[in-house]
C-alpha cells in the first residue's frame, strides 16, 4: 500500500510527464489549472491517465472543485 506522500509524488511525476515538463518541476500545492495552463477538459484527460496508473475509478464528482495536486492525491489515496 502506497503512502499519501508516495501517491502525491506519483501524481506529480505523471502530470509532469503527461504535459512534458521537467521532472521535479511540480509541487503538491501547485494549482494545476494555472501551473499547467490547462482547461477542464484537459484535466479530465489527465484524470484518465491517473486512473490507469493507479488502477482505480475516480468519478468526476470526486474531483469537482479540486485544483491542486495535493487534494487530488488525497482523493486518489482514499480509493486505493
Amino acid at each position: 500500500m502506497r503512502t499519501l506522500e508516495q501517491t502525491t509524488q506519483e501524481v506529480l511525476d505523471l502530470a509532469a510527464k503527461h504535459f512534458q515538463l521537467p521532472a521535479g518541476s511540480l509541487a503538491p500545492g501547485d494549482d494545476f489549472f494555472k501551473r499547467l495552463g490547462i482547461d477542464s477538459l484537459q484535466t479530465l484527460e489527465m484524470l484518465s491517465r491517473l486512473e490507469n496508473h493507479f488502477g482505480i475509478e475516480l468519478p468526476d464528482y470526486e474531483v469537482q472543485g479540486v485544483s491542486d495536486f495535493k487534494t487530488l492525491a488525497e482523493r486518489i489515496q482514499s480509493r486505493l
Binding site: 494555472k34 477538459l41 484527460e45 484518465s48 468526476d60 470526486e62 469537482q64 472543485g65 485544483s67
Partner: protein
C-alpha cells in the same frame, strides 16, 4: 410533437407527453461503458409520481420553490417533473459552484426543498453557508451509501408517497423556473422564467431543429443551463425523443457514446467543440500522404455539394469514416453558451456535420437567433427565431449598436430586483448588453459587449462584481475588477479576460508580497473566474454620493491607457 399552443404549463405538457409516448424510451443513463438506466415514458411516470406525491404530503404546494443541484442524470429530470406536476417553481443551480455560492443562491431563491446528489450534499452540509439558508426545509439526497451520514437530509430513493399525486395546474404567466444568470458574489440575478417563456421557446426552436420519437439527444451541457433544459429535457420530451445521460464527461467515453447510442443531436460549448476539432485534425494529419490527398478531395467535393444546404445522405456516403465515428446518425451539433470561432464551425460543416450556432441569453429564454443552415454561415449567429423581434439600438455608422429583443420568451424579471429589471427590460424590449449588427441577408453578427462581463469558452458568464469579494481587505487604497473588452473594446467575442485595477496607497509599491496576496486570493476562485492581470492607476476612483465606484467613468479613464503596456501579468 405535442401542440404546445394548447398548454398552460410545462407540467401539463409533460404530463400529456408521458401518456402519448408511453412506449417510447425517454431516458438512457450510462456510466462509462455500463448502461445504468433505460426508461420508457411510462417508466418515467411511474418513478416520478411517488416523488410528487411525497412532496405534496410534505406540504409542497402551488408556487413553492424547489432547487435541484445535480449532475446530468435521470433523477434530475424525474425530480423536475415531480416539482412541476406538484405546481412548484424549479430553481436549477449549477453543481460546479462552491457550496457557499450554492447556499447563497438557495437563500435568495427562497427554495424550501432541495434535491441533490450525495457527493454534492457532503460538501454542502459541511459548509458554513448552510446556517443562513434556513428556508431550505427538505433535502433529498440521491445515491447515498448505506451507512452515510445524511446530515439531516432524506434519501431520494425512499421519499415516496403512495397513490396518484394531484396534478396542480399553473397558468402561462406563472413563474416556472428561477434561473440564475449570475450573482454568486454580488447582486443575484435570478431570472423569473414563466411557463409561457418555455412553451414559446420550444415551439420556435423545434420549428427549425425538430425532435421526433427515435431521436437520441446526448445531454452533456449541465441541465441547469438554459440550453440543456430546453433541448435536453423539455424539447425532446414533448416530441417523444430519447435523452442520453453520461455520468462521466471523460472525452473517451463521450466519443464512445456517439456510435453506441446512435446520437442524433448534441449540444456543446465552444471549448468542447474546439477540442473535438483538434482531435479530428490530428487524425487527419496522421493519414499517409496518398490517403490524405484523397480525403481532402472528398472534403472539397462535400463542400461544393453542401454549399446551399446540408445534404446529410451525401455527406455520410462521401466521408463515411468520419460520420461513422459519430455514429452515422448525427443530424446537427448545437453549439451555444459562448461565442464560437467561425473556423471551428466551418471545419465541421465542411465534413458534412451541420453546426447550429446561435445566440441567446438566459433572460431571453435560451435562444434568440440561430443558423437555419440555408445556407450555412460560420461568420454569423444566424437569424432571429420565429416570434423574436430583434433590433439594434443606437446604431453607429457601421450599423453596430446594442442588440435588443422583444418576444414571449423574455423573462418576467429578476427576482426581488425591480430596479435591475427596469434597467434591463425597457418598454418590453430586453437590452442584452451585447453589441452587433445585421447584414443584408438578415443575419446577426456580434461584435462585442457593452456590459462589463466576460463569457468563457466553457459558456460561463462572469461578472466582475461577483468576484470582487475575494479581494476585499486587500491592502491597497481601492480596487475594481473589469473585463478588458469593456475598457478597451475590440470587435471580437473571444479571448476575453478580467483584470484587477489597483490604486495603491501614497508611497506604496506593487511589491512581491502584494502580488503574492493577489495570487493567493485569486486561486480561491474557480479557475474560470480568475483575473489574468493587474493594472495600476495612480488616481482616486470616481465614486457616487453613496461612495459606489462609477465603473463606467473609471473605464473611460482607463481606456486612455495603452492596454498592451499597462496590464501586468500575475
Amino acid at each position: 410533437m405535442l401542440d404546445l399552443s394548447k398548454y398552460q404549463s410545462i407540467g401539463e405538457a409533460l404530463r400529456d407527453a408521458l401518456d402519448q409516448f408511453s412506449g417510447e424510451v425517454c431516458l438512457i443513463e450510462a456510466d462509462r461503458e455500463r448502461e445504468k438506466e433505460r426508461l420508457t415514458y411510462r417508466d418515467f411516470k411511474e418513478r416520478a409520481h411517488p416523488l410528487a406525491k411525497a412532496l405534496q404530503y410534505g406540504g409542497f404546494s402551488a408556487g413553492a420553490r424547489a432547487s435541484i443541484i445535480m449532475t446530468n442524470q435521470s433523477k434530475w429530470l424525474l425530480s423536475a417533473y415531480a416539482i412541476f406536476s406538484a405546481g412548484g417553481v424549479l430553481v436549477p443551480l449549477d453543481y460546479k459552484l462552491t457550496p457557499d455560492e450554492q447556499w447563497q443562491l438557495l437563500k435568495h431563491s427562497g427554495a424550501t426543498a432541495l434535491v441533490t446528489e450525495y457527493p454534492i450534499w457532503r460538501q454542502l452540509s459541511g459548509s458554513s453557508g448552510r446556517a443562513a439558508a434556513t428556508n431550505v426545509q427538505t433535502v433529498l439526497v440521491t445515491e447515498a451509501p448505506a451507512n452515510a451520514d445524511l446530515a439531516g437530509a432524506e434519501r431520494w430513493e425512499e421519499f415516496r408517497g403512495s397513490g396518484e399525486p394531484a396534478f396542480v395546474a399553473r397558468k402561462r404567466q406563472d413563474t416556472a423556473c428561477i434561473v440564475y444568470s449570475s450573482g454568486t458574489g454580488g447582486r443575484p440575478k435570478g431570472c423569473m422564467m414563466t411557463h409561457e417563456n418555455y412553451l414559446e421557446q420550444c415551439v420556435a426552436l423545434t420549428s427549425i431543429y425538430p425532435f421526433w420519437p427515435g431521436v437520441h439527444y446526448l445531454s452533456i451541457l449541465p441541465t441547469n443551463h438554459a440550453i440543456d433544459f430546453m433541448v435536453g429535457f423539455f424539447g425532446p420530451f414533448t416530441c417523444g425523443a430519447t435523452v442520453v445521460h453520461l455520468r462521466t464527461l471523460r472525452p473517451e467515453y463521450v466519443r464512445e457514446a456517439f456510435p453506441k447510442y446512435k446520437i442524433t443531436y448534441v449540444s456543446l460549448v465552444p471549448l468542447v467543440l474546439k477540442n473535438l476539432q483538434k482531435g479530428l485534425q490530428a487524425r487527419f494529419d496522421a493519414l499517409p500522404p496518398g490517403k490524405r490527398k484523397m480525403f481532402n478531395a472528398l472534403v472539397r467535393l462535400n463542400k461544393l455539394l453542401t454549399k446551399s444546404q446540408p445534404r446529410l445522405g451525401i455527406s455520410r456516403r462521401l466521408l463515411k469514416q468520419v460520420h461513422e465515428a459519430f455514429g452515422g446518425e448525427l443530424h446537427t451539433i448545437i453549439v451555444g453558451g459562448a461565442f464560437s470561432e467561425p473556423q471551428t464551425l466551418q471545419f465541421f460543416y465542411d465534413l458534412g456535420i451541420p453546426v447550429a450556432n446561435g445566440y441567446g441569453l438566459t433572460e431571453a429564454g435560451t435562444a434568440i437567433t440561430v443558423n437555419d443552415l440555408k445556407p450555412f454561415r460560420a461568420d454569423t449567429v444566424g437569424k432571429p427565431l420565429p416570434g423574436m423581434e430583434v433590433r439594434i439600438v443606437n446604431p453607429d455608422t457601421d450599423g453596430v449598436g446594442e442588440v435588443s429583443v422583444r418576444s414571449k420568451t423574455i423573462m418576467a424579471g429578476y427576482l426581488d430586483d425591480p430596479e435591475l429589471t427596469a434597467e434591463t427590460i425597457v418598454d418590453a424590449w430586453l437590452l442584452t448588453g451585447d453589441l452587433g449588427r445585421f447584414d443584408g441577408a438578415g443575419h446577426l453578427l456580434l461584435t462585442g459587449r457593452k456590459k462589463n462581463m466576460i463569457v468563457t469558452e466553457e459558456g460561463k458568464n462572469i461578472y466582475p462584481e461577483d468576484i470582487e469579494t475575494v479581494f476585499e481587505s486587500l491592502p491597497v487604497k481601492e480596487f475594481c475588477v473589469f473585463a478588458t473588452n469593456y475598457i478597451w473594446p475590440k470587435r471580437s467575442m473571444v479571448g476575453e479576460k478580467l483584470v484587477l485595477v489597483l490604486h495603491l496607497e501614497l508611497g506604496q509599491q506593487y511589491s512581491d508580497e502584494l502580488r503574492q496576496d493577489i495570487n493567493t486570493r485569486n486561486n480561491r476562485l474557480l479557475n474560470y473566474k480568475r483575473i489574468q492581470g493587474v493594472v495600476l492607476l495612480d488616481e482616486d476612483f470616481p465614486r457616487t454620493a453613496s461612495l459606489k465606484i462609477k465603473r463606467n467613468v473609471l473605464a473611460e479613464r482607463l481606456a486612455k491607457l495603452d492596454s498592451a503596456a499597462v496590464i501586468l501579468p500575475l
